[in-house]
């Protein structure tokens, strides 16, 4: 086979193109308006409310997702049963739904006219138009991301490790806590980072299910959309903060999981 002299440069050119295309809009957010203007519009009450709300709701959603998702993922990873593939596909569904559809689904299930609407009303639980509703929407769209990553991470834990733990006297719960979770941790952290970033960026489902009101349900993405038409610098400033935070999240997760998996891989 003759080596084609243009193949190498073609690869490089493709990469450069992809890189430029993906990176340019992100860079443009920071560069479009003067930095001083960006910073000053951040002091806006609407912006600070939006950022605070985004951080609060996404953090609470992550706590719920990890608390419920980790044992669920472990169960999925360690039990073999026929409906397993179907169950996993069902759990993946929220990920591929358009956000508006997700919002509609949440309304149809948990809205005042929804299936559980009367039950929730009887229990004096109101989700629609409330901050709690934002948390519910975030859990719905980002939960599966964590669940699937965690399930894969637990699945990759070698069976001999959990077997060893059992023979040494640790029951299932102790084995889960002392062996499965620590060994699967890099995968769990990656899942958490992805889910968190997804939750921070969530727009459609939140708007449809919880509405948009400053200080109550207007998260950063919603505030950006509301301000785009009237106050572009403010919208850009909020966008810049979101980008910076998401980037920090991704990098942090990579570092955390990378250092751990390096330790495991160096056999």
């Amino acid at each position: 086979m003759r080596a084609r002299p243009w193949f190498g440069p073609l690869l490089v050119a493709s990469l450069a193109l992809a890189f430029a295309f993906l990176v340019l809009p992100v860079v443009a957010i920071f560069v479009h308006t003067a930095p001083a203007k960006l910073v000053s519009s951040l002091g806006d009450r609407a912006s600070t409310d939006a950022l605070r709300l985004s951080l609060e709701t996404s953090t609470i959603a992550m706590v719920v997702v990890v608390a419920v998702g980790t044992p669920a993922a472990y169960w999925l990873a360690t039990r073999v049963f026929r409906a397993r593939a179907a169950l996993i596909t069902l759990l993946e569904l929220p990920l591929v739904l358009p956000p508006a559809v997700a919002g509609l689904g949440l309304l149809a299930a948990l809205g005042p006219d929804g299936i559980l609407g009367p039950a929730l009303a009887n229990a004096h639980v109101q989700l629609v138009l409330q901050t709690a509703g934002v948390v519910v929407a975030l859990c719905f769209v980002s939960g599966p991301l964590y669940l699937l990553q965690a399930q894969a991470a637990f699945g990759a834990v070698e069976r001999s490790l959990t077997d060893a733990s059992r023979t040494l006297g640790a029951g299932e719960a102790a084995t889960f806590a002392r062996v499965a979770v620590p060994v699967a941790l890099p995968g769990l952290l990656t899942g958490l980072g992805l889910a968190w970033a997804r939750a921070l960026g969530e727009f459609g489902a939140t708007l449809m299910f919880a509405g948009s009101l400053q200080g109550v349900t207007q998260t950063a993405p919603l505030a950006i959309y509301a301000q785009f038409a009237s106050d572009l610098p403010a919208a850009l400033a909020l966008s810049a903060v979101l980008v910076a935070f998401s980037a920090a999240l991704l990098v942090g997760v990579k570092l955390l999981s990378g250092s751990r998996s390096l330790g495991l891989a160096a056999r």
Partner: protein
């Protein structure tokens, strides 16, 4: 290519269907909140026509040299809407009742501006109650209609044409003329379009032609006399 306010969706689509029967004319739409569309034009997008739910936005674009003189082509009425079958609201005064959840448009959108004008004209006590009852600010009218139909809110300020378009899902309480804000729809040809003549013809049809008829069917009133 026409950028048009979300509340114009039903009548303008019917208008486009009528236009399609004559040769050589094809209309594509982008419906969204008028504020968002205006911002897109400011950022350099170039449709052929901009149809807004107020006069303010086209006038602003005109002052920046982005569109030509706006032409008013319809008016609408702001109404207080609620889901059919709900018995909570029967008058404006009912908005002051305890636990009433209200949805309005966000401040950047005409339907939200009009609602705010109306609220500012209310007697003090009712005004305070309404402001306290606002639980949702939607980026466009369809969001408000959605929340109403889902009974997520008890009342919302939308256009009369939206109630018509909802086909029975919504009922409306009329706003007294003394309080009602003037709602005017205006359209303008966007500068830099390469289809200026068809664009002007399209707008003309909105004022008196197939477009006018479609608007009337949808509950839009004719343009105010100049």
């Amino acid at each position: 290519m026409v950028f048009a306010a979300a509340s114009l969706k039903a009548p303008l689509e019917r208008y486009a269907a009528k236009l399609r029967s004559s040769p050589g004319v094809s209309v594509r739409y982008s419906f969204a909140g008028s504020g968002l569309l205006a911002a897109q034009i400011e950022e350099g997008l170039r449709p052929d026509v901009f149809a807004s739910a107020n006069l303010k936005l086209p006038r602003r674009l005109r002052s920046h040299g982005m569109v030509q003189t706006p032409v008013a082509f319809a008016t609408n009425r702001l109404v207080l809407a609620f889901a059919a079958g709900s018995s909570k609201i029967s008058s404006l005064g009912d908005l002051a009742r305890r636990g009433v959840a209200i949805a309005i448009g966000s401040a950047a959108v005409p339907v939200g501006e009009y609602a705010r004008i109306l609220i500012s004209r209310l007697p003090a006590r009712l005004r305070r109650a309404v402001l306290a009852g606002i639980r949702d600010e939607e980026p466009d009218v369809s969001g408000i209609v959605g929340k109403l139909s889902q009974r997520a809110v008890d009342a919302g300020f939308v256009y009369a044409s939206d109630v018509t378009a909802a086909g029975g899902a919504l009922r409306a309480v009329a706003i007294p003329a003394s309080l009602a804000p003037p709602v005017a729809y205006a359209a303008a040809v966007v500068n830099g379009t390469r289809q200026a003549a068809p664009a002007r013809a399209y707008i003309a049809g909105l004022v008196s032609g197939a477009g006018r008829r479609a608007l009337a069917q949808a509950g839009f009133l004719p343009a105010p006399a100049p």
